[in-house]
Symmetry: C2
Amino acid sequence: MRAEALNIITNSARKFINIGAFTRLWNLVKNFHAADIASLMHQLVFREKLVLFKTITEKEKEKAAGVLSELDPEDAAQLIKEYKVEQISDLLEIIPSDDVAPILPFLPDEMKDSILAAMEKKPSEDVQELLLHDEETAGRIMSTEYYALEENTNVSDAITAIQLEGDVESAFYLYVVDDQNHLVGVASLRQLLFSRPNTPLKEIMTTEVISVNTETDQEEVARSVADYNLVAIPVVDLEKKLVGVVTVDDVIDVINQEATEDIYKMVSLDKTDRIKYSPLRSIRKRLPFLLISLLTVSLAPFVVHFFEGTIEKYVKLAVLFPLVMALGGIAGNQTIAIMVREIALGEADWIKARKALLKELSVGIGNGVVIGAISAVVSYLLFKNPYLGLILGLAIIINLFVAALVGTLIPLFLRLVRLDPALGSVNLLTMCTDAAGILAFLGLATLFLPYLS
Amino acid sequence: MRAEALNIITNSARKFINIGAFTRLWNLVKNFHAADIASLMHQLVFREKLVLFKTITEKEKEKAAGVLSELDPEDAAQLIKEYKVEQISDLLEIIPSDDVAPILPFLPDEMKDSILAAMEKKPSEDVQELLLHDEETAGRIMSTEYYALEENTNVSDAITAIQLEGDVESAFYLYVVDDQNHLVGVASLRQLLFSRPNTPLKEIMTTEVISVNTETDQEEVARSVADYNLVAIPVVDLEKKLVGVVTVDDVIDVINQEATEDIYKMVSLDKTDRIKYSPLRSIRKRLPFLLISLLTVSLAPFVVHFFEGTIEKYVKLAVLFPLVMALGGIAGNQTIAIMVREIALGEADWIKARKALLKELSVGIGNGVVIGAISAVVSYLLFKNPYLGLILGLAIIINLFVAALVGTLIPLFLRLVRLDPALGSVNLLTMCTDAAGILAFLGLATLFLPYLS
């Protein structure tokens, strides 16, 4: 839904909620896609959300379940907390298990257990199966709804079996297993239309099935789906038995989530730090990092302190060192951004570090020489001191070199030790380039001091 | 393919290429998925790439075409330039038009025209149709391969028609049109399996079809596919006639591309600035921005220059102002990152600016008070001057306030004037927080100067 339309609808919904016009509220939203109702919910405050959700639940349980699937898991959990266990288990039963699993960890343990106990056996077990796996793995995000049949089944029986099983919304492939449930092949449902009724599946299936296992990291799952242009990827357990599928809509969520994480981790933000949550929550999340930053950025004053005597003799130096600091930070952030994305897209790792490093160092020196030379000339024209210009130019070249070196190595090193390559990298870089820039500039200035003042 | 496996295969491929063992080279890669061969190509230098690609072309044209589809368009164009027009048009004919279109703009105009002239009529026209639309629109990235049938066709005839048309790899839906080719409905191919042979399509189709038009921005296309959990979205022209579909694999490419762009634009990098390209190219791409940065970061020295007299009287000030600068930059970058992602995910715009602004300002003041107080106390303990501590603390609070203000407004404003919200935002922010931090700190210091020295 477009932003303008959404704003108009939000205003109407808010009005109906406030005057208690629940039938009109229902008429407003009843033909909307669940995803659009979820977008509408995002615009409302909690009390309004709850009224809207209760109205939908009373009128059409399936719609309410669909909305719950589309909400952020944390938001969905907030709503659920306001309901009785029996009401909520009724809703959760009809939501795909991979949409229920992310919600439950946000509920109090006791409530979670009661809900799982109150749900029907099959959906409850499916959800519990997912929760056994680590967060951000294929086993946690997989769907347990898919079509799988034994390899000797013929096409005609396969069609009947699928018809009996009912419509599975996001199933586009038919997986083929042996009698032990090992994944042996895949056919698209489309292929069933093309094949003679009495052909066994093993004759029409593709045997080169791309699959992941339950412990595969979700980022790797997403990369496989993207690389091989799939709309779903089967998940097998450690014995190669088929246990689920990850569908492309979940992969898109993963990619969006990981992209947000990449940007957020570069500046050390928590991924759940959103505008919609309270300032107090954000302060609590950001303060620890700012406190660490306070330590790391203190390296720069420490270096300046060391050169206080030099500045006292020639105060113009205090005017120029911020320039060297800032340019190093800007160039270094560019290198960090490149490395973080190349690593995320699987194009850079420690093994290829030398290539990346040589490249970025060359760029750093190249840009450093140009920017340094211009700065030197401008500063000479302003301050009429050739030595000051020379020192400034050299310090900029040195700092752009340091920026390239540190900017390349921080993300690669973080990746090597299995941390996120973006994790606080901008902060670490700032610490290094600030200190190195000041050290280079004020250090050179101290050496050339007789020629400056 | 995993990084370790890829490295081993790259080494073998390189060896076979260098000793001219082309049959062994072919045997190495012949069973690989085209996407894996493309990953392998990424590891090779151009001369090696060319040998590998020629080997594949000679052995199996379809495989070579598949590889060309999977390569970055610019890399594919590089290879194509080494071929004769007739050879290359043979390959491009069998590649989906939406994979050919991005490659052609990287070729010299004359070569592009000759290739389009040499290709068969239908694929050539399909590609030209795509090239009529602007870059980054639905019309440019859509595929012209899909199933569409008239609404009165019955299920049995529909299945026959699809069988006659042949297998379209990424088609999972059957679009339903009226006799004027207006899009009126959609059915999944799966639904054909469920329906009686003599039912007309208009009885089984869903009439609420989510579609985009040829001019829709690709980012909005991606958002629709993601929000509504689709695997393809139909594209209509301005008369609502069906002209193509965008499939989810292209949507994933768009999302990855836009995520890279978000990060890159924050630090003003060109989206094609990759490790694999030459340093000279990257220097050329980054220099203009660094030159602009040189201007923007010069605001800080200018402000310091204004307070030279104050620093001369109390040189400790030069030690502390970098701290105020750095903290403002760090906090501001967090706000920018949040705004850029919220805007990208469609959760923030100018209309909701007040909410975002209030939130970020509260966080800025809250964090400012804590960090400012700590800094004040520590600086008092180090320098034994309560006024210096007070000034430092106040300056930090002011700068974190400025960081929140500017960090929220820059992306929203850029978006309002239809520029990318991330465009150079970090650079603009640095300029503001550096200058504001120095101004606040040295300004307060000048006021309190009698109490300092």
